[in-house]
């Protein structure tokens, strides 16, 4: 039994701190196997690299940063005692951080880092294992500089020796010393004694460096070792907490106090004892805590925690907190996360307790396959149809003008469509744009785009996490029947100041993260604006838009205060405004304004609670400012206030969530006011609308066994229209289940029912700035719907690919469509111009994803249909004679590809391919004479299609370089949007001339290649 020695720890700390200084300026990716310090070129050759045997790199194995790597070109600098590694024989070498090296094999010899194993008196060096056994015999071979006979120092010798470079190696001797380990300490042996022991027999089974298997023995290829921590609780920390050297008592709950950018833990080899003997109730106990990211100290959401023996599983929430029920006794708990090194930890559960974990950036292997955490996560959750947009990959997805765009990234996912480019909304699995609940933190965003769809409303630098629920929508969400897009903002780095600056062709943005009180209070602020008017000014005078203007601004502000590791309070505010005009006298102006306060509490028993309240505002103003008697402003607004409370509690294999929502609405559907002194427009307004939408919900996620789990939830929601009292409401059910016969194969099914009480009123295919929102009332019933879905998910472990096939079927009732010629603005009898429709949508989505490696990305194909049918019989005026007709966003075939290839860690190329069937349109099929001219006779609604859509985008990305102490890092992206220059049609229209001839025209928004360059500075 070996005990942890404080002196050894102190030395380790010193080394860790030394490495910390080196790592301080490094970006996370520089901590990878081949991104350590580059092999130095010293001014004086004598201080160069002197290999133990020869300068030729050989293939070997190494156990580094908790993982074994094979067939790596390596060599040992026996002077600096550095292990060098390179990906290819002819490439440059990098120095592996000694603190992360456990052992390696080179030239048939086995070397071990005794410091890694906490051996007393060990030097910070690599010892060769000459003979394993109960008391292993070791050789420490070093290169030492031979003092010259004339007593000259190495510097002087270098100056005097004219051919020093070629012969410098001759000035070094190999010095060998012999050692043995006994009782956890290192003992120096004389050469004679050492040789005698070498000759004696040995028993490898009793090696002190293994418990079950020898971790460093390549033939056995073992992965763990057997140090036992006899007392106290320790974090598998990359840095050591302040009180680390204090007496560790059983009452200690050690929290990670972040040591900036320190290296990965060496304590994964330990067994951590949680709780106290005799205090457990039952056969299981709850282990809870928070997972942090090594490089930033920020909480890590989405980390999968699973115990293979008991089959229990948990996932860290958006605040990095987790809670898992483990059997008493010894467990091996695996922590896995996207782009993080997997962390297997031995836990000895005595009773409930907390355990903080820090994970480091994953080493970017150039060989072998990596199964990412997100891949395995798919097999651990019952939910389906949930997509997580990785913010780091966001920047690599080419988009118009090179601006990282949340919505554009979401559009690369299967099942998510848009009616065309520069289209403000998106459609999920056959639902209309208003059937998506878009949340920014807990606030509702009614218009998620800027500049009529060219940019999304979310500044990517301020976004931490994006999730899209296409089906299996959690019971806590309601009010929309198609999907939930949940965007979470960054909480900010609590320990250091950082930020970014982005400059693009059309927009610029900046953000800062400021630790107001280090470790406690963080402020995040960011803003973005455009300068696109100068481009519009360059348009030819005969262009329809030459007199136009377009611009937007958005800003975020959040303050997060951590009272302690259990309680946080966050205030958040978001503001966005758009203003554009196509001609001089009509302007469109819309504004989002959101604010909220959120309190989070983490309980001892692994429970969690969140209470939030806030306010959302969306306003839209159309200004006709011709400075005549006809000038006016037309305003529509939505104001809502909300209060939400949620609690989550684990009960054995159950995780129960329950809570309540309350939303109050106040809508101004239309208000017209005169503009200017000479305007004779009379002020008028539609009656304001007020409503309440309360809801209660509860759900239970039950892991029946490792293969089987189910989640069942119910949401009891209501809606009260206050102005002309009308009540709607009812239960909504959320069911899903999973069966995983093996760990990398899952089958899932789900069923949802949903209700929607607020509707976007539009008679255009695309969301337009003149669209208004309407609450359900006595004349407009809520939209209801249900969706059934099933899918199979397979992770091909050997090649690191995720394959998924999902099918779905949806139905809806009382969605709203419009009559031809409907007046949707300032219409007091709006319901007369609307028609209720029922909808059905179905489809199959196949997706292949490669989450890790040099080539990453995904490819998907979907076949889907979305159809509508008028629910009432209006005789010959019934839309399409009462038959099913294509929804405006019905695109049966869709193929998408988003890929990124990393040539090196700095340079990568991205490509985006998007193909879809042309969207439905209504075209003239005849003409007739009326009112003194020919008029167009249109087909039934949406019976024709515009040409198919096909677009390829490409970009080349240059990421930050290897500058160890650089204060700022620059990313440059050069790309081309619409590489093929295809004139993808956005809409078609027809006109008649005086002779009655009908001419058709097609509008293409991006009708040519659009090159761009984007500069981002991170500091």
């Amino acid at each position: 039994m070996f005990t942890l020695n404080r002196k050894a720890l102190f030395a380790s700390v010193f080394l860790l701190l030394e490495a910390s200084i080196l790592a301080f300026s490094q970006r996370p990716e520089e901590l990878a196997l081949f991104r350590g310090r580059t092999q130095n070129v010293y001014p004086f050759k004598y201080n160069g690299t002197f290999y133990l045997e020869s300068k030729k790199f050989q293939k070997g194995s190494v156990y580094y940063n908790g993982k074994e790597y094979q067939d790596i070109y390596m060599n040992l600098d026996a002077y600096a005692m550095d292990l060098l590694a390179k990906p290819e024989e002819k490439s440059g070498a990098t120095i592996l951080f000694r603190e992360q090296v456990a052992w390696f094999t080179l030239g048939g010899k086995h070397f071990i880092n005794l410091k890694y194993y906490g051996i007393e008196k060990a030097e910070d060096a690599y010892y060769q294992i000459a003979k394993d056994g109960k008391s292993p015999l070791l050789i420490l071979g070093k290169k030492v500089f031979r003092t010259s006979a004339n007593g000259l120092s190495p510097q002087m010798q270098a100056r005097m020796d004219g051919n020093y470079d070629a012969t410098v190696v001759n000035y070094f001797d190999t010095e060998e010393t012999f050692w043995a380990t006994e009782n956890g300490t290192l003992v120096k042996l004389s050469a004679k004694k050492w040789k005698k022991r070498m000759a004696a027999s040995s028993n490898p089974e009793e090696s002190p460096f293994k418990k079950e298997k020898t971790v460093w023995h390549p033939l056995e290829n073992a992965k763990d070792d057997g140090f036992v921590q006899p007392q106290g609780r320790l974090s598998a920390s990359i840095g050591l907490p302040d009180r680390y050297f204090s007496e560790i008592t059983k009452e200690d709950t050690v929290t990670v106090e972040y040591v900036s950018n320190a290296m990965v833990a060496t304590f994964r080899n330990k067994t951590y004892i949680i709780g106290e003997e005799g205090k457990a109730k039952g056969k299981t106990a709850i282990l809870s805590g928070t997972v942090f990211e090594a490089e930033s100290g920020m909480p890590l959401p989405g980390v999968i925690i699973h115990d293979d023996n008991s089959g229990t599983y948990a996932r860290s929430d958006k605040r990095g907190r987790y809670s898992i029920s483990l059997p008493l006794g010894e467990n091996t708990l695996n922590f896995e996360a996207e782009s993080k090194e997997s962390l297997p930890l031995k836990i000895n559960m005595l009773s409930a307790g907390t355990f903080e974990v820090v994970m480091t950036e994953k080493i970017n292997l150039l060989k072998g396959s990596i199964v990412s955490a997100s891949s395995m996560q798919q097999h651990r959750t019952t939910g389906m149809g949930m997509e997580n947009v990785n913010i780091k990959t966001l920047a690599k997805i080419p988009s118009a003008f090179g601006e990282g765009d949340i919505i554009k990234a979401v559009l690369t996912l299967p099942g998510v469509k848009t009616v065309g480019e520069a289209s403000g909304g998106f459609n999920v699995r056959g639902g209309s744009a208003d059937q998506n609940l878009i949340l920014f933190n807990d606030n509702t965003i009614y218009n998620p785009s800027h500049m009529f769809g060219v940019f999304s409303a979310f500044n990517p630098d301020l976004v931490d996490n994006v999730e899209l629920y296409k089906s299996s929508i959690p019971a806590e969400y309601g009010g929309r029947i198609s999907s939930v897009l949940s965007v979470k903002s960054k909480d900010g780095d609590p320990n250091r100041f950082k930020g970014s600056l982005g400059i693009g062709l059309l927009t610029s943005r900046a953000h800062v993260e400021v630790p107001i009180v280090k470790g406690k209070t963080t402020l995040v602020a960011g803003a973005r604006t455009t300068y696109s008017d100068w481009l519009l000014g360059k348009l030819p005078e005969d262009s329809a838009y030459s007199g136009g203007s377009a611009g937007f601004t958005d800003a975020n502000l959040s303050v997060t205060h951590r009272f302690n590791d259990r309680n946080t309070l966050q205030g958040f505010a978001y503001f966005a405004t758009d203003k554009f005009s196509f001609s001089g006298d009509t302007t469109f102006n819309y504004t989002n304004l959101n604010a909220s306060i959120v309190f989070r509490h983490k309980g001892d028993d692994g429970s969690g609670m969140k209470v939030s309240g806030g306010f959302d505002y969306y306003g839209n103003v159309v200004g006709a400012h011709s400075w005549s008697s006809a000038s006016y402003d037309l305003t529509t607004t939505i104001r809502q206030a909300f209060l939400k409370a949620k609690r989550t509690r684990p009960f054995g294999s159950h995780t129960v969530s329950y809570g309540a929502d309350f939303v109050g609405y106040s809508l101004t559907p239309g208000k017209m006011d005169p503009y200017g002194d000479i305007s004779t427009v009379k002020a008028s307004a539609l009656a304001d609308e007020h409503a309440l939408e309360p809801a209660l919900y509860a759900s239970d996620n039950w892991t029946i066994s490792d293969p089987f789990s189910v989640e069942a939830g119910v949401r009891l929601g209501g809606f009260i229209f206050l102005d002309d009292p009308k009540f709607y409401g009812g239960p909504e059910f959320r069911l899903s289940g999973k069966y995983s016969p093996v760990s990398n194969l899952s089958f899932k099914a789900g069923f949802n029912t949903m209700r929607q009480y607020i509707h976007l009123i539009s008679n255009t295919s695309s969301v337009s700035p003149m669209d208004t929102w309407k609450l359900s009332d006595g004349n407009i019933a809520p939209t209801t719907g249900w969706q059934g879905a099933a899918g199979a998910y397979w992770t091909l472990l050997s090649i690191g690919l995720d394959l998924s096939v999902e099918g779905y079927y949806k139905q809806s009732r009382n969605a709203l469509d419009y009559k031809p010629g409907a007046t949707l603005i300032m219409n007091p009898n709006l319901a007369d111009d609307l028609v209720p429709v029922e909808g059905k949508a179905y489809g199959v989505e196949v997706m292949l994803k490669r989450p890790a490696g040099k080539l990453t990305g995904w490819m998907s194909y979907s076949y889907s249909r979305s159809l509508l049918k008028e629910m009432q019989d209006r005789g010959t005026n019934t839309i399409n004679n009462g038959d099913w007709y294509n929804a405006p966003y019905d695109k049966p075939h869709e193929f998408k590809l988003a890929g990124n290839y990393a040539f090196t860690h700095r340079y990568s190329a991205s490509v985006n391919v998007d193909y879809s069937t042309g969207r439905p349109v209504t075209v003239p099929v005849g003409k007739y004479y009326y009112g003194g001219a020919y008029r167009l006779l249109y087909s039934e609604r949406n019976t024709h299609r515009i040409p198919d859509y096909f677009r390829v985008d490409a970009a080349f990305n240059i990421d930050p370089g290897h500058y160890l102490k650089a204060i700022a890092h620059t990313t440059i992206t050069l790309g081309v949007y619409n590489v093929t220059g295809r004139k993808n049609p956005y809409s078609v229209f027809f006109r008649t001339n005086g002779l009655g001839e009908v001419k058709g025209y097609m509008l293409s928004v991006f009708a040519t290649q659009v090159p761009y360059i984007n500069l981002n500075i991170l500091f």
């Binding site: 360059k538 003409k927 809409s987 293409s1004």
Partner: protein
Amino acid sequence: MALASACIYPYSPELSKEETERILVVDGEIVAGGTSVIRLFYTQGLQEETTKTAMGKAWVEDEAGNKYYDGTGAWKSTSYIPTLGLTAGNKYRAGMTVDGETYYSEWLTPVSAPEITRISFDADESSVYVKADLNGGESATGYIGITFDETWEFHSDLEAELVIDPDTWSFPPMMEQYPYYWCWKSMETHTMVLVDYSKYLGTKVNGATVQRFSRTDSRNHKKYSIQMRARNLSKEAYEYINYVQDVASGGSNLFTPDPGTMEGNLHCETNPEKKVMGLVQAACATSSRAFLDSRYLKFVAPDESLLVIVPEEEYPYYYNDRGYRPVKNIVRDEQSGVGWGPERCINCIVAGGTQEKPDFWE
């Protein structure tokens, strides 16, 4: 940048020939105290050049069942029905029989006519604007529809100084101006100009632009006259006509509503499932006339490049076969002789005018 790269280009969808069924289209107006007009058409293929009219018998009837017909009783595509006895405030509807089916409009109530308080003219650098000041009156609905006809005195493009005797091919002296230089021309517009004042205070509209033409247009040559007819439109009639004229005629704005066929106010009585399109509206109309002199004329020099110097021996050919007439003696390059031009450029009658002075001409 998006707008800079945007592009509009031709598009011809593939359409099935079966897609165009023949549907009756009715364009009607019941004019209380005037002459009602009901026009019947069929929908037709996009490429058909000839306007497809429908033959039928149309009438106006009141709630008492009295029917008013076009006096001739013949089957027509356009029926002019005297309805002098109809009055505002009562209900009327239009009926028609076409192809054995009987169609009716909704019951409609004409409201009293608006007042055209003033017709004025204005011009900018390039155009002349004809404007009207209107007053919806007691029965103001917020919407006014204006149709108009125009008459103007104009001259030919080229003023002939010579007249040829086609018998002798000689040029007798011309003591006065070429006799066919000045004519009158008339044009009636059925396209209704819509004025929406529903969002304005009061019932008056000032300066509504009714017509616009270029300052070089022949309307400016000497004297121009416009007679406007205005009627108060119901909201439904306004919306229908506006939709048909605007949205259904094609738009290219990113936010243009999706087009379709708007529901009219007609139905087939004998076969409820038979489609019928169009709108019949009911109104009392008022009219007003105004004159404009040539103050806004922008002179454009005659295009003498049209003139061809014709040798004497070719006079018959140019006169008889090519329809040319002599204009004047010209010298061009190293040639001189009598310049001839197309008769339509010289003879205002051939250009579509008449030399019969309108009765109302001042």
